[in-house]
């Protein structure tokens, strides 16, 4: 069984179809990139997969559960247990230190564990900046804290909406390296990006236009 199955999903805002009858399947452990022009519905799709929004029509089966039919409380639980989120704007809690930002995710999942949180920061190369506030970190460093936070509860699927949108080349490469590492460990990754370089490293790229899936490219040269 596939980890994620999107069947005939539409998201309708008045006259606008942000998503228009989208079908997509994502296998366990797959690394998928989503591309498309601005306003094509990429974030809308990520929000639906991430249980933060519901489709107007269609089914979204995540790990055997149709999340289109679940209550808000259940969706919160699914988000907590199965999904790791990475944002273009990082969204760190500005009054908590790097390690505390990671621990927040543990706190709402189960139990905060400072040692484990520090290990997660170590994995993204930020152990020595653990006690810094977000305002004292560079954009690249903040994004790595955000990644550490997404990883800490071992989610089944990581959703990254333009993770490198605010980063320079060097930091972009650091993030891509972390993704590669995650992929090798078997984490399912869905990455929205405008950047062909970020899309290229994924196994498969789908392209959205006006809410429709218009193209699908298998990355032949994908290196495991």
């Amino acid at each position: 069984m596939s980890l994620l199955e999107i069947k005939n999903v539409s998201k309708i805002y008045g006259p606008l179809k942000a998503l228009d009858n989208v079908n997509l399947t994502v296998e366990n452990g797959e690394w998928l990139a989503i591309m498309g022009p601005s306003g094509s519905g990429k974030s809308t799709m990520m929000n639906i997969i991430g249980c933060m929004d519901k489709p107007s029509l269609g089914e979204v089966i995540l790990d055997g559960v149709d999340i289109a039919k679940e209550s808000g409380k259940k969706l919160t639980e699914i988000r907590r247990d199965k999904i790791g989120l990475i944002f273009q704007q990082f969204h760190l809690v500005n009054y908590l230190t790097a390690v505390e930002n990671v621990m927040v995710s543990q706190y709402y999942h189960s139990m905060p564990d400072e040692k484990e949180a520090l290990e997660a920061l170590e994995r993204v190369g930020l152990k020595d900046r653990a006690k810094h506030l977000p305002s004292q970190l560079s954009g690249g460093e903040q994004q790595r804290v955000c990644i550490a936070r997404a990883l800490i509860n071992h989610p089944e699927i990581i959703l990254a909406d333009e993770p490198t949108g605010n980063l320079d080349e060097a930091n972009e490469n650091i993030v891509i390296d972390i993704f590669k590492q995650l992929h090798r460990q078997g984490t399912t990754l869905i990455v929205v990006t405008h950047d062909p370089e970020v899309a290229e490293v994924a196994q498969r790229t789908v392209v959205l236009e006006h809410g429709r899936l218009v193209n699908e490219i298998k990355n032949e040269g994908f290196e495991e």
Partner: protein, 432 residues
């Protein structure tokens, strides 16, 4: 983690929290000041009004109008034309003795001066020291019951000073002017019972009839009128509760018309009628009656002042609730990303509300404590400017203010919490 988050939120966003705390402190300080003044103002206003004289007079039964009415019931009246001096102190022993602020006996007589004119002479207490058999000690007399007297020259007669106690006198300005005397002079008076040379210690201006009289000590007047150990009347100043239906019924139909339960309530409330009744019980053959106008206006003024205070308190609390509501809503709005994020990573609504409310309540406690002390200051300033005395802080105000602050803070936070609950993470996190 919860406390680390709270700590982070409080310490790393100090300025915002300080604003909220200040708003709460302002509300709390006004509430504290008003409540304390309100609770204290009863005493203060009464003390103010006390300056305008006694509110109860006690006369012998025979001299009272009521006696005339009751005389018809055929009972044999063994009334005395005088009260006994020894009974005066009993006023303080009644159930509401604590509410008796001051009292003074009077002996009235007419004396003949050297120029053969007749003048009213009154014997009374000025600052008479009383040691009651209850162990209580107090100074009673007209010095405080006639506090509006303006002593033109000389000074108040001091009964506790050697020498003045016997033969000292105070003379009204009109009389003093007519006779051309001032303090330090002496005044020869005579009656059918004797004669005496009084030494004038002070000349006063009362603004009334008393300006044509001589006031002297009780003993001197008794000697001149030949009524040793006897007095004509007593003036009493008592703190009273404003009359209500029960008090009116008791006053018009008599306490006997009340049911036992009502009687109990009436007797144990400081109505002017129940205090009068108790004075009559304490002093044999006496009739105590309220000096109506003063008693009533006291109650009225008190009611109105307290109503005003309550209104101010409500308005100030309402104002701070609005202020808090604005600030907290603004703060939640500013933190909508953070709140959206917490929701996105799986925090349930109640846990996020819990954090926000805990922050606000901690801030409220800090603001409330500060406000209490500010309110203490306000109360003293108001007390000094309005009543010329300090306001006693009542401990019961603390829990009241605490509860009010919690209610006001929580009420003020309702819009913010509602916004927080409605907030959908998808809307704030993808930076549209």
């Amino acid at each position: 983690m919860f406390f680390r988050m709270i700590k982070g939120a409080l310490f790393r966003q100090k300025s915002k929290m300080i604003m909220i705390a200040v708003t709460i402190a302002l509300g709390a300080s006004l509430a504290t000041a008003m409540l304390n003044i309100m609770l204290d103002v009863g005493d203060k206003v009464n003390q103010e009004l006390k300056a305008y004289g006694a509110n109860i007079t006690v006369v012998p039964k025979e001299n009272s109008v009521l006696t005339d009415l009751y005389a018809l019931d055929g009972q044999e009246e063994t009334a005395a034309a005088h009260l006994k001096e020894d009974d005066i102190g009993k006023i303080k022993t009644i159930f509401w003795g604590f509410n008796i602020l001051d009292f003074t006996p009077f002996v009235n007589t007419t004396v003949v001066l050297d120029d053969e004119t007749e003048v009213k002479l009154t014997g009374t207490w000025f600052n008479h020291h009383l040691a009651l058999n209850t162990g209580e000690e107090l100074d009673a007399g007209i010095h405080s019951l006639r506090s509006w007297w303006d002593v033109k020259n000389g000074q108040w007669l001091d009964e506790q000073k050697e020498g003045t106690a016997n033969g000292g006198a105070m003379v009204g300005t009109v009389l003093a002017e007519r006779l051309g005397i001032s303090s330090g002079d002496s005044l020869h008076v005579k009656t059918s019972d004797g004669e005496k040379t009084l030494s004038v210690v002070g000349v006063f201006d009362s603004g009334g009839d008393e300006d044509e009289q001589i006031f002297t000590t009780l003993a001197t007047a008794q000697e001149l009128s030949g009524t040793k150990g006897l007095i004509d009347s007593i003036e009493v100043s008592a703190l009273t509760t404003p009359d209500n239906e029960l008090a009116k019924k008791a006053a018009t139909k008599g306490p006997g018309s009340l049911s036992p339960a009502d009687y109990e309530t009436w007797y144990c409330t400081a109505y002017v009628s129940s205090i009068c009744y108790q004075i009559q019980e304490a002093i044999p053959d006496s009739v105590a009656s309220p000096v109506r106008q003063v008693a009533e206006s006291e109650g009225n003024i008190l009611d109105k002042t307290q109503l005003l205070m309550i209104l101010i308190t409500i308005l100030s609390l309402f104002g701070s609730a609005l202020g808090i509501s604005n600030l907290v809503t603004a703060s939640v709005m500013e933190r909508s990303n953070e709140i959206g994020l917490l929701k996105a990573i799986g925090a349930r609504d109640y846990r996020i509300s819990g954090i926000v409310l805990t922050e606000i309540i901690i801030t409220a406690v800090v603001g409330g404590v500060a406000g209490y002390f500010m309110g203490y200051g306000f109360a003293q300033i108001i007390g000094q400017t309005v009543f010329n005395s300090s306001i006693e802080m009542k401990p019961m105000v603390i829990p009241i203010v605490a509860v009010l602050i919690v209610i006001v803070t929580l009420a003020g936070s309702i819009p913010a919490i509602r916004m927080l609950l409605r907030l959908r993470p998808a809307e704030v996190l993808h930076g549209r």
